[in-house]
Symmetry: C3
Subunit: 340 residues, 3 copies
Amino acid sequence: MADSRFFKNAGPFALAQIAEAAGAEIVNAESCDHLITDVAPLEQASPDTLSFLDNRKYLEAFKETKAGACIVSPDMVDHAPDGICLLVTKTPYHAYARVAQLFYPSQNGQGNVSAAAHISKSATVHETADVAAGAVIEDNADIAAGCVIAANAVICKGVTICANTQIGPNASIANAIIGSNTIIHAGVRIGQDGFGFAMGLGGHEKVPQLGRVIVGDHVEIGANTTIDRGTGPDTTIGNGTKIDNLVQIAHNVQIGQNCVLVSHVGISGSTELGDFVLLAGQVGVAGHLKIASGTRVAAQSGVMRNIPVAQEMGGSPAKPVRKWLKEVATLERLAQKKKD
Amino acid sequence: MADSRFFKNAGPFALAQIAEAAGAEIVNAESCDHLITDVAPLEQASPDTLSFLDNRKYLEAFKETKAGACIVSPDMVDHAPDGICLLVTKTPYHAYARVAQLFYPSQNGQGNVSAAAHISKSATVHETADVAAGAVIEDNADIAAGCVIAANAVICKGVTICANTQIGPNASIANAIIGSNTIIHAGVRIGQDGFGFAMGLGGHEKVPQLGRVIVGDHVEIGANTTIDRGTGPDTTIGNGTKIDNLVQIAHNVQIGQNCVLVSHVGISGSTELGDFVLLAGQVGVAGHLKIASGTRVAAQSGVMRNIPVAQEMGGSPAKPVRKWLKEVATLERLAQKKKD
Amino acid sequence: MADSRFFKNAGPFALAQIAEAAGAEIVNAESCDHLITDVAPLEQASPDTLSFLDNRKYLEAFKETKAGACIVSPDMVDHAPDGICLLVTKTPYHAYARVAQLFYPSQNGQGNVSAAAHISKSATVHETADVAAGAVIEDNADIAAGCVIAANAVICKGVTICANTQIGPNASIANAIIGSNTIIHAGVRIGQDGFGFAMGLGGHEKVPQLGRVIVGDHVEIGANTTIDRGTGPDTTIGNGTKIDNLVQIAHNVQIGQNCVLVSHVGISGSTELGDFVLLAGQVGVAGHLKIASGTRVAAQSGVMRNIPVAQEMGGSPAKPVRKWLKEVATLERLAQKKKD
């Protein structure tokens, strides 16, 4: 069902092949002996496409889907409509991710370099990398195999981009080393000066920012997000970390592996996050803090102190989430008592 | 008074012509028998320019203005300075908008295509569209009549831009269909991957994002705003909706008609807004919610539940605004009681 | 220690020369009679490099540093490790800023204009300005001596950029006059339409935005920040003001001198800030307000009223910070009393 103007479908595939990619068990296989041509949402699916159910909110849509096959968890099997084939797994969303990747594999570079790209003679661009029109690759930059540099992106002098990494349109990367299999979306800004000033009544004196940005492998960085380079130490983003759109990461911040930072999060200078930290939308974190691996912070919270042990936090100033919710409930009760 | 380096004035105009555009009634016409050359703020206006009064905060400036003519509401007539001509209407700001459009009409494309634009041979660019230097139009993109594509903008493969729509400098549009008479400002990012991962302790698996972004007619999208494409369903923005700068709209969000989203608003995935919803600055809305038409949410609020009926909301978590303000007042009173 | 792929070191320098730049007094000079080759963080410094201590959080690192010389405040002298030379000053961070500038001076333009830049014939580019590949300079724009226009930046028609100002990659500047010695980072958007609509049930009518953006000297504007032009009056940014990444400044806002606006701050239309106002991260300020010089607002606060006298504010709605903290403490206490 994906619009063929934008997406290239690698299918069709037989159900057995899909089940293998999904790591799922086939139930009711006899009802689906034809090839599956595509994936589709429950409401739009047809007998030759496959869908998935991951969120109980969509149970009604599942009961009425016309999909030929559907990925579900074991407890959903009994709710299936008649004549549907099921791919059953305890992790249906993961399974769907792998099936969708089967139909729509990520495209690495193929060696297509536009005549309208501007590539410095001292830059190195691997023969399998793509560079689109208007992209600028400055002196001594190094673009590895399979990279895709989109239109009007700017790779500044000396930057290294490792294999199979994608840089979106109009993004700019400076003073940085970017790992492999990483996706940097449109308009991302990496490696500009951090916000470093010696403040005073005579004006604010600029402090040269002499560090870099080091981004790991399998990282994703959302559109128009900004990551400043370090002051002397580096700003670092660990392997597997996923960053949403419009996030701000200040100088010297160190982010561990597999963290998730949702849109509009802001992290102040020199703060360190462990691994698997989740910051929901619009969370702010003050500077020079240490946040333990596994910490989860609710949307719009303001973290002002170290979080030495993994926990769920909420509120501004942030506190353990149960404490925060109790305060919310207490204030609600007290306000109701007052007549007005 | 507008700087002629930047703005081209279509005037002068006679007062009667201006009153007709404004839909206003002329009072004290005899004091203004000359042509009006321009519009200007109250403090800067001169006898041959026209101003307007919409906000009572500026009443003093109105009393002292040297404007030759002024658009006002009926209750302001008695406060007018001597010798000024008035254009009286119940909706002075609307009237001013139309008069300012008379003097400074929006410019559609005239068929100016820069030799320094990079246009794919398979793209279609209407003969009346403008394409500026450094702009990139990729394969099979379709740019309709009267469009203006500014410098270094990127229109990715297969994208359709309908008539008289403007795309600002350095903006990038992918996987999208954009309506007519829409304005997309500088640095906007439309159609990149949504933030879709199957999360787990072994790392976060990328879920291919197979939908599009569908933007209606007469929409305005502010600078550096980001709108992710859908996961399979589309992300949609209804006709007449106005979105400010640095707003985040996640995958599958559906926004109705004539909504107003102020700067730094963030809307999480799959949430649906009705028509005429107003979200003030820095509001966050959680995912998978339904917000009724006509809902208004105060700045910095955090919407965590469905809003089934139009109302004013405030606070984080958001609640009806009167309840929120009562809680604010209650806490203030309780804190004052405590000595410290 | 700075990576030579990205940073060009103007050193080495003798200690006396460094002390003069720092405005600091040398203590224990005999232990450092060799040239200093670079600056470095305490943990990474070696005997031929210089470091600094400004934040007591890093006292332990100071005690163990291997730096040959270190800038410190007088009360830190007794904590110095053996054999280190000290540069003693009451303002160590300012002193470090000046020393780092000595080693890594800011680079003005040298007259390098890329053959791949797109410069209108009617534009004026000073013979000492740099213009990188893909940059677009439109009609009648004026780029003064020593400016640096980075790759894929867009300087729209009629814009003036004064001497020694730097415009980052993919930034776009329209309808604006930019002062001298100012730094505008990657992806900044200046001068696009403000968010001006006459709202109504028949739809929202666009109000032409006829003002400009006037940016002073020695200003810094962070990556992907957006500054809308005025509606008729101008939007103005005073000399010496420093603005972080992803900040939103609406039409007609007037910001005084030497203000500091941290990331994700949003300022609504027509608000005026005095001088030396500090807004911490994610602060929102409503429209049409006046904020006194010297005001400081804590992170995530929401300013909804005028602040006529300099003070520290916090909370949403913002109030004097002591009052806000008392409310936070009061609610915490009341919630603890309730059993649940």
